[in-house]
């Protein structure tokens, strides 16, 4: 259309000039909005840049092999050791405890809400779960250290004051709402006709839920579990408060231990000079953490693509 090229047209009124102005400002606004949307990409680039560049300095001083295989983590001592496995073990154990609570509980709640509960129960239960998900993690940390640990010590008298067990249990409760609400969404997206088919064959509700709805919604369930794992691995304050902060290579949840995240907090609380090796360790730890969550994210996307059912 020739209107795209104003010079071809005789200017008969101010109207066209006004239109041209309008087009310019429209373009300008679109550009501004695009910049706002690009901030998220810049954030990612910033994260990668900061973690990789600081870790690069770190790995000039410490070999990657030592980093992955050393069994001690004493970066601030004279005899410095940088074995990240020590911190990873704490993260793995606490996440394992948390998921052992969160996955069964979250799935049961999701099945109950989507297949059994009537709309009245759902309208009460969903806000409760949402509130539970909104509680600040520092408050959960307080709860783990000063309420749950003393309660657990009644049953397990040898439990120390700081332990991965009580931190992990509370972390599990914290993750339940994420898993429950995502899984429920996935199960409610399963078409009614599948359930009706099962009911018509004489299935009970539970049988239908377990043998028809859960397999049909499996990709959504898997995605919610992966999100739960990411939350558990990245959780910081509950562990910093309730699991103690001394590095400890252990697979026993009854012991206190530092995790990747609580180590970062511990260093940040002190006064480390910018550019020192201690300062660089937290970026190497952060990079490890990001890579772990990235692996789970990719796994989640793969699972979702592989098990996606189309109706």
């Amino acid at each position: 259309m020739s209107a795209n090229n104003p010079s071809d047209l005789p200017v008969v009124s101010d109207r066209l000039a006004k239109n041209a102005m309008r087009n310019v400002s429209e373009r300008l606004i679109e550009g501004l909005l695009l910049c706002a949307a690009a901030v998220s990409v810049l954030t990612t680039l910033g994260i990668v840049y900061v973690l990789v560049s600081e870790s690069f300095h770190f790995f000039q001083n410490v070999s990657i092999v030592d980093f992955l295989t050393d069994t001690q983590w004493t970066p601030l001592f004279d005899d410095a050791h940088f074995g990240i496995m020590v911190l990873v073990s704490g993260t793995v154990v606490s996440s394992f405890v948390a998921l052992a609570v969160a996955i069964p509980m979250g799935t049961i709640i999701a099945i109950y809400l989507s297949e059994f509960a009537n709309s009245k129960v759902r309208e009460v239960a969903k806000p409760i779960l949402e509130l539970l998900g909104g509680i600040p993690t520092i408050v959960f940390g307080y709860f783990a250290l000063l309420v749950v640990t003393p309660l657990l010590q009644i049953i397990l008298p040898e439990l120390p004051g700081f332990s991965l067990l009580s931190a992990g249990l509370v972390m599990g409760i914290m993750i339940v709402p994420y898993i429950a609400s995502l899984s429920e969404d996935a199960m409610r997206a399963v078409p009614m006709s599948l359930r009706e088919g099962a009911y018509a064959m004489g299935s009970t509700r539970l049988y239908t839920a377990i043998h028809v709805v859960v397999p049909a919604a499996f990709s959504g369930l898997a995605a919610s579990y992966i999100l739960g794992i990411s939350r558990a691995v990245g959780e910081t304050m509950i562990l910093a408060v309730a699991a103690g902060m001394q590095p400890n290579l252990t697979w026993n949840p009854m012991e206190p231990a530092a995790t990747i995240t609580s180590y970062i907090v511990q260093v940040a609380l002190g006064d480390l000079p910018h550019g020192s090796i201690g300062y660089q360790t937290i970026f190497a730890a952060g990079l490890t953490l990001l890579l772990i969550t990235l692996v789970f994210n990719i796994l989640g996307q793969w699972l979702r693509a592989k098990f996606r059912e189309n109706y």
């Binding site: 909005l33 998220s40 900061v50 973690l51 539970l132 600040p136 959960f140 307080y142 009970t204 907090v265």
Partner: protein, 307 residues
Amino acid sequence: MQPLTTEQIRAVIARGKLRDTIFKALGIFCLAIALLVIVALIADMAIKGSERFTLDFFLNFASRRAAQAGILSAWVGSLLVMLVTALAAVPLGVAAGLYLEEYAKRNWLTHIIEVNISNLAAVPSIVYGLLALGIFVYQFGFGQSILSAGLTLALLILPIIIVSTREAIRAIPAMIREGSMAVGATRWQTCRYHIIPYAMPGILTGVIIGLARAIGETAPIITIGALTFIAFLPPAPFTGEPPAGLFDWVFAPFTVMPIQIFNWTSRPDPAFEINAAAAGFVLMVMVLSMNAVAIYLRYKMRKNIKW
């Protein structure tokens, strides 16, 4: 196979029903645990902290003596950090959501932005703290200030605001846009006078949920190195000598509620435990009331809007 007798069929049905009932009970039990944790948390902090709920607690600075310590600098700091966070995250998030829903063409750039936003939502919050430590604190030289903390939390809640903005915009039917454009409005005029106003309740819900998340975040703020003992207030916002004085408050050192709680929780002296409980209760009231407002807004919205 022998056909089942009536009694046998009845037994099968009874067994199935029993299993259903057991599972129902299990579901209610799990929900009850969730509710119990919320109630136990609030009750524990309210009871332990009850003796500290005085005006002095809100008007005193942190102190070495537990009985005189208060949360003045913490709640003021939290409010100021939230102000910076909201000022940064709301325009950016709404603009990004608007762009993705109303302007973006389906091309590789849009795809990258979308994948990015969903991945950012899964990045642990402490990683944002490391980003802020490297970029805001040292590269930009903002130091350990309200500005650094506010911007960090803004980046953290940006995905929440973008996603809720997009959902709110997507719920507006196409006829609204067509009607507006049919009478000669440009795309931006359509957004400005129709899309944004109609999406407002949904956007607001997302903003409140995002800010409720931000006000309770501890890890990223500790990572940027916020002080834990602050016995002074930053200058009051927008009151100093213009132009420089207007913004001197954003460069002030600060502390926030969650850091104050962490500080008191990690002290061995049980007297500070009472303070931690009281401050935790105050924080919970803040967060839960924000969430309750958001849930109410969403509930009301769902009932009222009929296109």
